[in-house]
Symmetry: C2
Subunit: 330 residues, 2 copies
């Protein structure tokens, strides 16, 4: 598969994206990468690296979307930005998927406008993978749609189902509806009606799931509207940071802190690896006529590499075709 | 102040509630407690304890609401339950506040029905106190109202403002609106319109606050609808448990785990104290004509004692009168 990588995207730009791209070549035999962005800067990063030059090529883009730009004007005015040209490269058929760690809003909006919605889909959704004590779960919508109707959530369930199957090779993922009480009757207007639709969907629907249980691994796919989903994501990020900061503060306040930390360091390190978003390789915008995967702005080269793997897999499996088929059949 | 304590409420019933009540007498000079529930069981718990008997008395209740009962039928049928009699004790003027660690839904619904709404309040709300790296913050609504209008969220802000002032002696708490983006224009239909109302409210409104920032201490009061609020609460609970379980698993998997843990034990203990919900003393249902404070079912005697302190403080300050006045003035 050919991936168009927005080389300028992310807090550290080409330094990190180019490194991730080169590293991915060793692990993925069938991948080819377009590095989209400022030729000079990309060449500078490529200079010292050894790689198969038949599998990496540069596509010049004269503009960059900055992280703090307003979405609408950036989408409308910056037609020569790296993200726009990367998306266009997929649209023209030259590449099979686009990957960006840049401005999330602009990347999503550009992909949505250029690719259009997949057949049978009313609202595309962002699917985010999160760790649990056991297998990871996929949460969607993670922020594309702030106000939703029950039919949208039903479609998110089908999208999440197809995505989880593709990503983790699981035949019938358990689908949970994020609500505030496990009983059928609990929730708000939106979730109560969605519950009814999911019950009749033919999916492996396991009912309402409460916030405290999503990390327990009871559902593989957790469905909610984008406002809640984005809030859950951000709260989790903030809380995890707070807990680790507090523990750090307590440990550094102890006279025995340094020695204790010395003995436990491998445990903290393992924990960090297991909860590292970089392991999960980005979040796709599902339900559009093309593959678009978004990474965290803070992505490391490892995160980029893992996201390239996911992009490759989604493109190869034609995830959005699977989604359309499952929705049109329903 | 006189507090009617639902002695049967909570996972451990009288064993814990009676202990918490007795302990609170030493710390609060002006408190008197009605222990409401099965006389025999309460007397059994009181037998071995020394306390000022002029400040604790028993009010018999022949029924108990079990944790898994359906709210509506329990409220309608169990008129002699400990929670109902405790609420009635406040309604009749014998006590100033009711406290329960029992069935949250039944306690809330009973208080709502028996007390009625406070003047100027459309929807009462549950206010939960949560820890941050610095000062705690209050989140409301934490679950009383699953579908809200902007006017409800505006009123929650006034309630949270009055509550934070009363609880932490802060003249002008910073009020944040939970949303998915800091800019004024970000959010869903509900938050966008609420933003406008809060801007004109005269409160110390600091704008939208994202989920990742609530634990950073940027707002003292975080306003949202009860579906989101309850979800945030539950996700936080679940994630904190998962993080600690994962760390524990990693530590116990190390040969040097035991020795390292030995040196860091005080740090983990301090961390636990600082994040212990028991420190924060329960969550009130604000905006009703009476004081009702709910504790976690898993409450320890210390949590009950701290909740008795909060109940005493809210009753003394006539929190719901303050709320009515601020809403009627607005």
């Amino acid at each position: 598969m050919k991936i168009a990588l927005d080389a300028m995207g992310g807090d550290n730009g080409p330094e990190v994206t180019v490194k991730g791209a080169v590293e991915s070549l060793n692990e993925l035999e069938d991948i080819e990468i377009y590095l989209v962005g400022d030729t000079d800067r990309i060449e500078k990063e490529l200079k010292d690296k050894s790689f198969d030059s038949s599998r990496i090529s540069i596509k010049h883009a004269s503009e960059v979307v900055e992280m703090d730009e307003a979405t609408t004007s950036a989408v409308r005015k910056k037609r020569n930005s790296s993200i726009r040209i990367a998306v266009d490269t997929v649209k023209s058929g030259e590449a099979d998927a686009v990957l960006s760690a840049g401005h999330t809003g602009v990347a999503m909006a550009t992909a949505f406008i250029v690719f259009g919605k997949a057949k049978g889909v009313d609202r595309p959704a962002i699917a985010t993978t999160m760790p649990t004590l056991n297998e990871p779960f996929v949460l969607l919508d993670a922020g594309a749609n702030v106000d939703c109707k029950p039919i949208n959530l039903l479609q998110f369930a089908f999208m999440g189902n197809a995505y989880y199957k593709t990503l983790f090779n699981l035949q019938s993922p358990k689908i949970g509806l994020l609500s505030i009480g496990e009983e059928d009757s609990k929730g708000n207007e939106l979730t109560k009606e969605t519950f009814r639709l999911l019950n009749e969907s033919g999916l492996n629907f396991t009912g309402n799931i409460e916030g405290k249980d999503i990390f327990g691994g009871t559902a593989h796919v957790v469905v909610c509207d984008g406002f809640i989903g984005n809030t859950v994501l951000k709260v989790s990020e903030g809380l995890a940071e707070m807990i680790l900061s507090m523990l750090k503060r307590e440990i550094s306040g102890l006279t025995s802190g340094k020695i204790g930390y010395f003995f436990l360091k491998p445990a903290f390190k393992n924990f960090k690896t297991k909860t590292d978003y970089a392991e999960y390789g980005g979040a796709p915008l599902l339900g559009i006529n093309g593959n678009c995967i978004i990474c965290h702005g803070r992505s490391s080269s490892k995160a980029i590499k893992n996201a390239l793997k996911v992009s490759n897999r989604l493109a190869k499996n034609r995830i959005n075709n699977i989604i359309s088929e499952s929705l049109l059949k329903n």
